[in-house]
């Protein structure tokens, strides 16, 4: 029973995913069915289960640990799923996406994300990674007649499975080092040989690092990100830019701060370079983009750099800052992609920068919401992004990573340029109201409003969530 308790959030979402699959199978040809509602029920149930499990430290089957850390990420991922489903209801219908498959795959990929955050065995992390990724590959190309979507899906699939081969090779060497794929066994084995680690240990660490760097889209393993984010349907982009990143960062944190903790001095050096490169490339190339989806893809690369900075400065503040950053980045980013999805029409759905010209005159509310999300991503007070960045950089300075903090602050100043460019286009363009924005329904509006409220709430009253984040990392690591 204890075993099942620990996997309860995942179990609930899995059941919801199966229910959506069955509902689609029994749906008559032109019968309308609120399939997304089933997903909402499942995700709300998972959040409730995570709340009940809080502070209980349940262990499932020896490989799933429902500690506060994984429950925190579980809730973040479930909230991302909820927003995605809320934004999807009209978009799915307008773009002719097969709704049963769409919701089922979204929910299964949420299960994979939750599992990735809670697994304490490398093999289970790998399986979870694949559950998540395979569903997202299909979601990227779910509009089968769309050439850009299929191409994006293929590029994402190719580099994704290429990187999981590296990840798996890393697991194989970890197994060779410790004789087990459990993180605690690996940690003991590495601690014993920490003074003179053999080549196997370096190979294991390096290959796992490459695998994770691909998934969080850190430079130089970021090539797939802009293509996949631009080609995928916009709501899917919002989902994968937040959910996949949250799950990958959570697993990254757990593996590198538990199993490879004894070698921290070595991998922080390497990771510092990767983080700085990631921030600089994401920001500089992002400035040159003319497509909003592609620009936000580069912005998400830069945000991966900030998250890595939090992992490097892994003091108590640094680790809780990573969790807080994940939550605040998630609401703002998923909201921004939600707005892009709402102003698109069936013909005009690529998210060009010019689509935003004079949005303020056509749909003032959407323009204001978009501005809120973008300014939060850029790190303006009083939005969530400001507090999140402040915590990360404060942790980096406290731990003595001055160069990292300086590069981070400079790149976030530069990144303000491309966020503000959209804001300026929306509010100050002189050619007004050419834009034809399709009507959108109550669920999507509610979702956007909730995302905006969450952005302000985390920015103005962050203490509650920071307390929760601190609690969730204090029990482990």
């Amino acid at each position: 029973m204890d075993n099942l308790q620990a996997i309860m959030p995942m179990l609930i979402v899995t059941l919801a995913a199966m229910a959506t699959m069955l509902a689609e199978a029994f749906r008559r040809k032109d019968e309308r069915m609120p399939i997304g509602g089933l997903g909402v029920i499942g995700l709300v149930g998972a959040i409730a289960a995570a709340g009940l499990l809080w502070d209980r430290n349940a262990v499932g089957f020896g490989v799933i640990q429902a500690d506060n850390f994984s429950l925190f990420v579980t809730v973040v991922v479930a909230v991302i799923g909820l927003f995605t489903i809320m934004f999807s209801s009209e978009v799915v219908e307008r773009e002719g996406i097969p709704s049963g498959e769409y919701y089922t795959l979204t929910l299964f990929s949420v299960v994979g994300m939750m599992m990735m955050a809670s697994a304490t065995d490398l093999l289970v992390i790998f399986i979870a990674l694949e559950i998540m990724s395979i569903a997202v590959y299909v979601l990227t190309g779910i509009k089968r007649t769309d050439a850009a979507g299929t191409e994006a899906s293929f590029k994402y699939f190719l580099l994704g499975s290429f990187s999981s081969a590296f990840f798996l090779y890393g697991i194989a060497f970890s197994y060779a080092v410790s004789g087990s794929t459990r993180l605690d066994a690996l940690s003991t084995a590495i601690a014993q040989s920490a003074s003179a680690p053999g080549p196997m240990v370096w190979l294991a660490m390096g290959l796992l690092l490459v695998g994770f760097a691909f998934k969080v889209s850190a430079v130089p393993f970021h090539m797939w990100t802009p293509d996949a984010y631009e080609g995928a349907p916009t709501v899917v982009t919002g989902f994968m830019s937040t959910g996949v990143k949250a799950a990958a960062v959570a697993a990254f944190l757990r593996v590198f701060l538990s199993a490879f903790e004894p070698l921290r001095g070595d991998w922080t050096q390497l990771l510092t370079w990767i983080a700085m490169l990631t921030m600089v490339v994401g920001t500089v190339v992002g400035v040159a983009q003319t497509n909003v989806k592609r620009m936000l893809a580069y912005s998400s690369i830069a945000h991966a750099g900030y998250l890595l900075a939090g992992i490097i400065a892994a003091s108590a503040i640094g680790k809780s800052a990573v969790l807080f950053y994940l939550a605040s980045y998630a609401v703002a980013n998923v909201g921004a992609f939600g707005v892009i999805a709402f102003i698109a029409t069936r013909e005009r759905n690529t998210g060009e920068l010019t689509d935003f010209t004079g949005l303020w005159y056509a749909k003032p509310m959407l323009a204001v919401l978009m501005a809120v999300f973008l300014l939060s991503l850029g790190g303006f007070p009083p939005m969530a992004g400001f507090i999140a960045k402040w915590y990360i950089f404060a942790a980096a300075v406290n731990e003595g990573f001055y160069t990292l903090a300086i590069v981070g602050v400079l790149t976030s100043v530069v990144s303000v340029f491309f966020y503000l460019r959209i804001v300026v286009m929306m509010f100050m363009s002189s050619n007004k109201a050419e834009l034809e924005v399709p009507p959108f329904g109550i669920v999507g509006t509610l979702g956007l409003a909730l995302a905006a409220i969450a952005t302000f709430y985390l920015g103005i009253l962050p203490t509650r969530l920071i307390d929760l984040a601190t609690q969730s990392i204090s029990t482990i690591f």
Binding site: L123, I127, Y137, F154, Y169, Y175, V285
Partner: protein
């Protein structure tokens, strides 16, 4: 008598061949096959290490990897077929609608 190192070198070579194939080959199906070679190189490592340690874990892990590889191949081939229908080409250089 082959030792663990022989097997590790062999799997390392296979992995390198697979990696090179992904970068050098100009046919989507061959690229997919190269990824399969990489996964099988890893499988060989697992089995060899398991044998060396005297446990069955390595062989059991291989089954998980094979299952995942099959799922991946199914999705990958489906995407390739769809891409071929839209583009009538299997050359990755022909796919240029998304670019820097």
């Amino acid at each position: 008598m082959p030792t663990l190192n022989h097997f590790l070198v062999l799997s390392g070579l296979l992995f390198a061949i697979g990696t090179a194939g992904v970068f050098l080959r100009r046919n989507l199906i061959t690229i997919l096959l190269s990824i399969e070679i990489m996964l099988n190189a890893v499988n060989l490592t697992f089995v060899a290490v398991g044998r060396h340690l005297g446990t069955v874990d390595g062989q059991i892990i291989t089954f998980f990897v094979m299952t995942v590889a099959a799922a991946e191949a199914a999705v990958g081939l489906a995407i390739v077929i769809q891409l071929f229908r839209l583009r009538e080409s299997l050359n990755p250089d022909a796919f240029t609608s998304l670019k820097w």
